[in-house]
Amino acid sequence: MTEPLLRADGLVKHFPVLRGVVFRRAVAEVHAVDGVSFEIAPGETFGVVGESGCGKTTVARLVMRLVDLDDGTLTSDGEDITRVRGEALRKLRLKMQIIFQDPFASLNPRMTVGDIVGEPLHIHNMWKDGGPRRVRELLDLVGLAAEHAERYPHEFSGGQRQRIGIARALALHPKLVVCDEPVSALDVSMRAQILNLLKHLQEEFGLTYLFISHDLSVVRQVCDRVAVMYLGQVVEVAERDALFDRALHPYTQALISAIPIPDPELERKRRRIVLQGDVPSPQDPPRACRFHTRCFKAQEICEQIEPELEQRCDDHPAACHFAEPRAPVVESPA
């Protein structure tokens, strides 16, 4: 394999749960990310998928070095970036940018669109050489008009705001763009537009994406490889088609089977795996296999021995004692 653009090795992040009014003290820990490893090759779109609270956003923030790791290492282009600070971190930001889920909260309402998109250029002292021209260029790239530069975010719809966020992320010619649920807040029609735009930009600039989503149908549309997370851990990693055709982990199988399909005949015929109950609290994750409280295949061993994330077939690791395909995951109309 070519040198990965980004390598995450054993990432750990726990957040303290604070109690008390005068003396705030930690009474527990949220195991937001608990030993997550993956590699992203240049030019690929690597997906991270899982239910809310499983640690996806925390992975994004760790990768972006917006929060510090408790443990693990991050390597970019062969260089250790786990603890870079100051000037080195600023340099890193030239290479890595992020697009957030909420196009309403992530744009400063008091700045014009032009200022928002141009802000990274100011921060990195690049405004002088052709800043305004670059802003026009960026707006054009994401399908907005030059005159939009004078307006404020509230004058735009959700889809357009997401375009503004994308333009800002591209300002510095990054190599890696972390997309944290970039279309989750959007309607289907806006969703299709933004997904197509991201794809187009990737082809045009050879971008690499870390694409985070809770929606497997979106992940399938855009990602080349996918990691499935459950309660702070990766439970399966696979190439896209392998994941959707031959998912090995019971959790992945359940997730895929729960995706509604817009076809009444098919939808009413499907055998769905309905998981019991909710995701347990990440403050006190179940022991051994964290999925055993909801797993339809759980055996005694699952509560005693933690399954390793190990290769099951070619490049397809899964963390389950009983990993095997359950075909067909999505039945086709026979």
Partner: protein, 348 residues
């Protein structure tokens, strides 16, 4: 318990539970009058799941709030039309009568159950309160019924959990509590506005099962509002598609997906990501975004985004026309033979 059902099978099963006729609902805003719902009609039969779909802002919630007489005041008002509940017009009903119907015969659940539950009262107590408000009933019996409802909607250890407060429940469990409360009085119609939009798919699947189960159990009709055509496919009997305050298509679920007749409907279908079909490089997309309702496009409101637009679409309003049994579409060309999406618009 005195079993007060106003439902008389002989009298009622033949006619719709609710019939909305030519509903017009408006909001006064600083920028002018927004006509959020503009001449919409539909009816829902006994035990039927009727879905309303469309993009954000197209008027789905406004339809629901109009049916309940709950448009936000003073901005909102029903400016025309009728809402007939078993033949009785609720638009002209007295506030007292409306309160009586609401909660008792027609109940509603929302996307965000936390905003609808009282944070300081145990959930069992809140459900029991519904009985006490509408029925003469012993407190002890009301409590027992509340516990039973919690177990009907699938809350484990209902007896113990009835004593918990809303914040002690997860999002999915709170939605179950909301459903328990809404069905307490066996309403004839349950309105569910995006009941699963905030939930993960695994939890969404559970909640949809609960909804279908209670409709079966209590012969309830359901008005299901959602923007997700996947959710609609597995649950709805009939579907109405709205665009910019107008009804643009209505059909039995099967026909809507198999032979959509309005370009907006097939635009929505085409742009939906799905896991059961071969992937296409790029997704079909509807260009542009929905219009402002302050100055909607003249004639066909979809014309600025429609791939099939013709000059007539910008001058003449396309009335709804019948295209098949139970299927209507508001497009000038809906009755043309062979009218429908091209293969690249909705990949098969």
């Amino acid at each position: 318990m005195t079993d007060v059902t106003y439902f008389d099978p002989e009298r009622d099963s033949a006619r719709p539970v609710i019939a909305v006729e030519d509903l017009v609902a408006e909001f006064r805003t600083e920028a002018g009058i927004v006509r959020a719902v503009d001449g919409v009609s539909f009816d829902i039969a006994q035990k039927e799941v009727f879905a309303v779909v469309g993009e954000s802002g197209c008027g789905k919630s406004t339809v629901a709030l109009s049916v309940l007489g709950l448009l936000p005041q003073p901005a909102g008002r029903i400016a025309g039309g009728k809402v007939l509940f078993r033949g009785e017009d609720l638009v002209s009903a007295s506030p007292a009568r409306l309160r009586q119907v609401r909660g008792d015969r027609i109940a509603m659940i929302f996307q965000d159950p936390l905003s609808a539950l009282n944070p300081t009262i145990r959930v069992g107590e809140q459900i029991a309160e519904v009985f006490r408000a509408h029925r003469e009933i012993e407190p002890k019996v009301a409590w027992e019924q509340a516990v039973e409802l919690l177990s009907i909607v699938g809350i484990p250890r209902a007896l113990a959990r009835a004593k918990d407060y809303p914040h002690q429940f997860s999002g999915g469990m709170r939605q179950r509590v909301m459903i328990a409360m809404a069905i307490a009085l066996r309403p004839a119609l349950l309105i569910a506005d995006e009941p699963t939009t905030a939930l993960d798919v695994t939890i969404q699947a559970q909640i949809l099962e609960v909804l279908l189960d209670v409709r079966e159990r209590f012969d309830m009709a359901i008005l299901l509002i959602t923007h997700d055509l996947g959710v609609v496919a597995g649950t709805a009997d009939r579907v109405m598609v709205m665009y910019a305050g107008k009804k643009v298509e209505e059909a039995p679920a099967l026909d809507l997906y198999r032979t959509p007749k309005h370009p907006y409907t097939w635009g929505l279908l085409g742009s939906t990501t799905r896991v059961d079909r071969p992937r296409t490089g790029s997704l079909p997309q509807i260009p542009g975004s929905p219009p402002s309702l302050l100055v909607p496009p003249p004639a066909c409101r979809f014309a600025p985004r429609c791939p099939r637009v013709q000059p007539i679409c910008r001058t003449d309003y396309p009335e709804l026309r019948k295209v098949d049994v139970g299927q209507v579409a508001a497009c000038h060309f809906a009755q043309d033979p062979g009218w429908g999406p091209a293969p690249e618009e909705v990949p098969a």
